[in-house]
């Protein structure tokens, strides 16, 4: 699948922001000072909002985006939109009530955390619901998305606590580290499934011509790359997959773990660690799309003319990375 930056940015940054919101809602942070409240709410809304804006601008007709709130009965993308709006509204209410000096009741926290989890789940189900992309179509996909959101959010929470001069306690840093580690262990299993399971269809089954013997492409149906190949024929990541996975684990897991256990006091180091983590998630998300094979690419098996169609089969370094 084509790894569009808008979607990578959306899933990574909104996911981080939603995870962070979940930890804030727990109420560990003292937000009685207005400056702190302003910064914390601004940062959280900034992350979630920037992600949503990025995904909206990715549309062919962003001005009609409001229509996407209508089909929540059947569409995960619509559910995601509706839930995101609800979360933003509920979070605004939560921050407002904190500003007015109220202590939000337990049920409000439970509802907000449930809404946040449901939103991340809906984001992941946009992908996991697609039977056409076999490596996405698995329960581990939403599990990984939710775990990356929760663990990334906890790391952002540690950073944010330091910013507002309320260093997170050691136990919280251990919780954050444990969650980050767990998220990447789950991602390891997701990757292992992608590597070991023979997923998807063959040209013989896709054309129904298998009974006649080996099936291969004789001529492509068009001379230049079409929408399908640009959008779904992106399989170039394979050659660099191992290196990129290592980079994502280093940035997204190992550096944050080292940082959490060694440098919890230093805001500068925590900032570096948070940025590294986000960069690691970007790489992980880039691979999530770039490594995914859409079943329609089966019909383009072996389509090569060395020039315009080469992107579907060559293993050279992709131009976008």
């Amino acid at each position: 699948m084509h790894p569009a930056w808008s979607i990578i940015f959306f899933t990574s940054v909104s996911g981080l922001g939603l995870g962070l919101a979940g930890w804030i809602v727990l109420g560990i942070l003292d937000l009685s000072r207005f400056v702190h409240l302003l910064f914390v709410s601004g940062f959280t809304f900034g992350l979630i909002g920037a992600g949503l804006l990025s995904s909206t601008l990715h549309l062919g007709h962003p001005e009609r985006a409001w229509r996407a709130l209508s089909q929540w009965r059947s569409s995960w993308l619509s559910r995601e939109g509706v839930l995101a709006v609800l979360v933003l509204a509920a979070l605004s209410g939560w921050f407002l009530s904190t500003f007015l000096g109220n202590v939000p009741p337990l049920w409000a926290k439970v509802v907000l955390i449930a809404l946040i989890t449901a939103t991340v789940y809906a984001t992941s189900m946009i992908y996991a619901s697609l039977r056409t992309v076999a490596c996405w179509h698995h329960p581990l996909t939403p599990v990984c998305y939710i775990m990356f959101s929760v663990s990334g959010g906890s790391l952002a929470f540690v950073w944010l606590s330091a910013v507002v001069n309320q260093q997170a306690s050691d136990w919280f840093a251990y919780v954050a580290g444990g969650l980050i580690f767990a998220a990447w262990v789950l991602k390891f299993f997701w990757w292992r499934r992608l590597d070991t399971k023979k997923l998807g269809s063959t040209l013989a089954s896709a054309t129904g011509l298998g009974a006649l013997g080996e099936v291969k492409t004789l001529m492509p149906p068009h001379t230049s790359e079409n929408y399908l190949q640009k959008e779904m024929g992106f399989v170039v990541a394979r050659r660099h997959a191992v290196k990129l996975r290592a980079i994502s684990v280093l940035l997204g897991c190992i550096l944050p773990l080292l940082g959490l256990y060694m440098a919890i006091e230093s805001l500068v180091l925590l900032s570096v660690v948070l940025i590294a983590h986000l960069a690691g998630i970007f790489v992980e998300r880039w691979l999530f799309f770039a490594e995914a094979k859409h079943v329609v690419s089966t019909y383009y098996t072996g389509v090569t003319d060395g020039t315009t169609l080469s992107r579907t089969t060559t293993t050279s370094c992709p131009s976008t990375f």
């Binding site: 996407a68 619901s129 056409t132 992309v133 013997g213 080996e214 149906p221 230049s224 929408y227 399908l228």
Partner: protein, 247 residues
């Protein structure tokens, strides 16, 4: 409404005969010609004579080779929307722009509502949907809904443009919900198949597999080899001998 309707009694669709399609691309061209001025926005056609032409088409004809050696055969393979009964493109649509008609099962896009998110194209296993690069909305086969019910055109033209134009009669249009219709009988007689049944889309369009052919057991000698192996007679025999002596 992107929930799928109850399966309709009438299921309009195409039956494509892979045995006789010659890959002339006439259906592709006539599809583009009709649909660029029919339902919805025109089908864009950017840089058509340049190095990198770009545009949206609703029908594409692949060509595959099936089998090996002497028994290999070319199979031309037209592919367009299969108007699936369980169309994942319809349920995936967040706006309600993508819908399946209750009365005849045709899957259409309301282009005024389409936000161009592309999720329907991702959910289609057949590559039947292409985003229009100029309009930013999703384009797909309409089964020529503006022809098949059109009383302003002669009756013989009230079939999809691809069916009307096919010079070999490899494309058939009809009601696949009626077991006694011509297309259903054809599918039954020829063992028509669903594409990618594992995707659980229940496509309405069917494909008729190529008929079995006599298999070649052993490769025949080439004409040149036959000619070289033959012994010359008469004058040629004399010349053959004489030339051999010379050299």
């Amino acid at each position: 409404m992107t929930n799928l309707p109850e399966p309709s009694a009438i299921k309009l669709g195409l039956v494509i005969d892979l045995d006789i399609c010659v890959g002339c691309q006439a259906c592709v061209v006539n599809c583009k010609e009709w649909n660029t001025s029919g339902y919805g926005a025109p089908l864009s056609d950017e840089n058509a004579y340049g190095a990198n032409p770009n545009g949206a088409w609703l029908n594409r004809v692949h060509a595959f080779q099936a089998g090996t050696g002497e028994n290999a055969r070319t199979v031309h393979f037209p592919k367009s929307c299969l108007h699936c009964e369980d169309a994942p493109c319809v349920t995936a649509c967040p706006t309600g722009a993508s819908f399946k008609r209750e009365e005849d099962g045709i899957v259409l896009v309301n282009e005024d509502w389409c936000i161009g998110c592309g999720l329907c194209a991702w959910s289609c296993p057949y590559g039947a949907r292409e985003m229009d690069p100029a309009e930013g909305v999703m384009k797909k086969c309409t089964l020529c809904v503006d022809r098949i019910y059109n009383e302003n055109i002669p009756e013989e033209d009230r079939v999809p443009a691809c069916v009307r134009t096919c010079p070999t009669n490899a494309r058939h249009f009809g009601d696949l919900g009626d077991p006694d219709s011509d297309v259903s009988l054809l599918v039954a007689a020829r063992g028509g198949i669903d594409l990618l049944p594992e995707q659980q889309t229940k496509p309405v369009n069917k494909y008729l597999p190529p008929r079995p052919r006599r298999q070649v057991e052993q490769a025949p000698d080439s004409l040149l080899a036959i000619a070289e192996a033959a012994t010359p007679k008469g004058f040629w025999k004399w010349m053959d001998k004489t030339l051999d002596k010379l050299g």
